[in-house]
Symmetry: none
Subunit: 414 residues, 2 copies
């Protein structure tokens, strides 16, 4: 089956936003084994959208449109798609109820234009939107399908995962089965090098590497008639990857994130954790707290951006800050030890570094980060040199911190 993507939004045409939806949807379609030969972007303009949609339907079995489902008069994706598919708009009582509830729960006034979002093409499948007001839609006519998704990624992604993916899976006979081997603390090119021979000789299953900040994911995908057959194809490859990467693999489960793996490890060891951050300023704590159920292990987090706070909160010595500076292995170590004492935590992680754009020097350039980890009284400090802008450096530091905590806990027991 062929599928084609149309992104709708003048903000994309003007270059105000990067079209991450298209990349995400393309990856999802590829993983489902659907062939995607075209992606298009058009603005919020009925005539041009109509033309683009007709062209797409002429050459692809299914067209996924994203964006332009909002309440404003700008938003006309639904109206245009209904028109092209010859399905008149009718009010959907269930959608109207959901939209009214959305406003009621938030204590907000619902304006008249929001009612427009409850209009759906007659006969369309309505996709619930748990994270916004605009429902998604599936329009079917003969062998052709048009799928409409809201533009905001936090609405589009769960709607696709929960409602569109199962729908598409049913349409495409045979299945595609994937396992993801997630690796931390190894660079993308090194990971690729370690599996190059497997990639070169692959047919079914295939191995595809994806780089994430501080992580590499190797996705092993098999195509087969049924799940059992696919699983038996994937299993030996995952086993071989486990042999090659060992403890650097933090999970082989798609839904487990690095922070989840760290929290699971802490819970398993019945250890409590505490964070103390300078340049990452709370991002490390925020990532840990992204894991539901973290409350059993998370003791406290401190953001000590200034030297004063480092001294006051963690008792970092004035002499240490003067002699070695705030960005130093010594300060990272004292931050970790001090916070461990303050919070009575079994495991403490400290981060101090220069995220830029200013504050770098020849000896201590932008990107220099020290991460300390104190496990049961034993403190390890690691030096890193990250590249990229302020955001990228901070993100890299958080991933490195999670990787280091994991390693220190695993080493502490051995």
């Amino acid at each position: 089956m062929t599928v084609e993507l149309i992104s709708v939004g003048t903000e994309i045409l003007l270059g105000n936003i990067i079209n991450t939806n298209a990349a995400w949807l393309a990856g999802q379609c590829a993983a489902l084994g659907l062939s995607c030969y075209y992606q298009s972007t058009v603005g919020d303009n009925a005539a041009r959208l109509c033309e683009t949609l007709k062209t797409a339907l002429g050459r692809s079995d299914a067209v996924i449109l994203s964006g332009g489902l909002g309440p404003t008069t700008d938003d006309l994706t639904k109206e245009t798609a209904a028109d092209v598919m010859g399905m008149p708009l009718v009010e959907d009582p269930r959608s109207l109820e959901r939209i009214e509830a959305y406003f009621r729960i938030r204590g907000l006034e619902m304006t008249e234009n929001n009612k427009k979002q409850a209009l759906v093409p007659a006969g369309a499948v309505v996709l619930d939107n748990d994270n916004g007001t605009a429902p998604g839609l599936i329009l079917e006519k003969g062998e052709k399908r048009v799928i409409l998704l809201p533009g905001p990624p936090n609405e589009l992604i769960p709607m696709f995962q929960e409602q569109v993916r199962p729908y598409l899976q049913r349409l495409e006979p045979g299945i595609l089965y994937s396992r993801t081997v997630k690796i931390c603390g190894i660079g993308e090119s090194k990971a690729a090098f370690l599996v190059q021979d497997l990639i070169d000789s692959q047919t079914n299953p295939t191995i595809a590497p994806y780089a994430k900040t501080g992580e590499v994911h190797l996705r092993v995908t098999a195509r087969a008639q049924n799940e059992k057959e696919a699983k038996s194809l994937v299993k030996p490859v995952v086993k071989e990857l486990e042999r090659r990467f060992g403890q650097d693999i933090y999970t082989t489960k798609e839904e487990i994130s690095l922070e989840q793996a760290v929290v699971d490890l802490l819970l398993e060891k019945k250890m409590t954790v505490c964070t103390i951050e300078s340049c990452t300023g709370g991002m490390l704590a925020a990532r840990l707290i992204n894991v539901p159920g973290v409350s059993e292990t998370f003791r406290a987090g401190f953001v000590t951006y200034s030297n004063k706070a480092k001294r006051k909160v963690a008792g970092v010595k004035k002499k240490t800050l003067q002699k070695y500076g705030a960005v130093s292995a010594q300060t990272a170590a004292e931050m970790a030890c001090g916070a461990a004492r303050a919070a009575h935590a079994d495991v403490t992680v400290s981060v101090t570094g220069i995220a830029g754009p200013d504050g770098g020097s020849r000896e201590k350039p932008v990107g220099l980060v020290y991460i300390g980890c104190c496990v049961a009284g034993r403190t390890a400090v690691q030096e890193y040199r990250f590249v990229g802008n302020r955001g990228k450096i901070r993100e890299s530091a958080v991933s490195a911190a999670l990787t280091l905590v994991r390693r220190c806990i695993l080493e502490a027991e051995s």
Copy 2:
């Protein structure tokens, strides 16, 4: 003049990379005052690329293609464009020399397939590539223009800036000028409702609303012969928006984020700030610390996810937690006051809420968040009911916290 973008690359269709080139080029074209109504992506396939290019040339004056200029047999953008424009390929001695020099300087062996990159359509303008081997090309025929750029951003961006932009500027007199009015604390549909009359009657300038979590941005764009004229068209519209939205506008500058506006306000008032977070777990601190130069105002941040930490760090009373619960206006207020004392900060913000997926009840559903703000001893607490998943609720809470801090500081002075 209308321009259209075609991105060539199977890796984009598979979702392996995010198409940042299209966003960047779109922004450049918009800044030049060129109208861009379509963007397309096709793989490295001659037939589909040919079809897409012909369609684009049929409706736009200029087409910019990026990618597929490399030395491998996969790369066929140049061959296809030359074919569509009816210009046979000939060897360009200057390009050949540059490619040979590129390899010589790097001490690399030049393989035969690299010679392919020195073939250019007869009569084409050759664009030097200072950062790679594939030259760019401009093909002109009658009023139509095809511009070919290499795919790697570090080659594409300088080539566009140095050679393509001046070329396009000569073709298109007049410019496009934008101002963005950024509003916080007002929903998208309410904001749209408040400017509906302006949007309905707009021609030049135009107003376009964009929603962000907790924010709405209204972009006012004028087309004119020169910057002075454009600015004089935009000015009265921005003034009218300022009249309608008043203090809810936190900036009219494109580059200023909400956290930057809050930090600027704190610096202007010479006030220090401290955060104490439960469900957002450091995200609020992390957003403030995203602003370079925040160190002058940021005193400390606390992540008190557990009741124990709330009591220990901020001195929240046991009785308060027992009687009202951790997610209550009373706890939010005590968190803010306690943290203000602990950190000696002028302004303290506290966040406590239920981010889900578990932990909700009938009286206190998932999404219920209390935000406290203590400015110079006076504490305000606000209740919110956010919807969405854990991530969305936490993100909404951070935006609301920034909005509340801003409001409290502005009100404190009046």
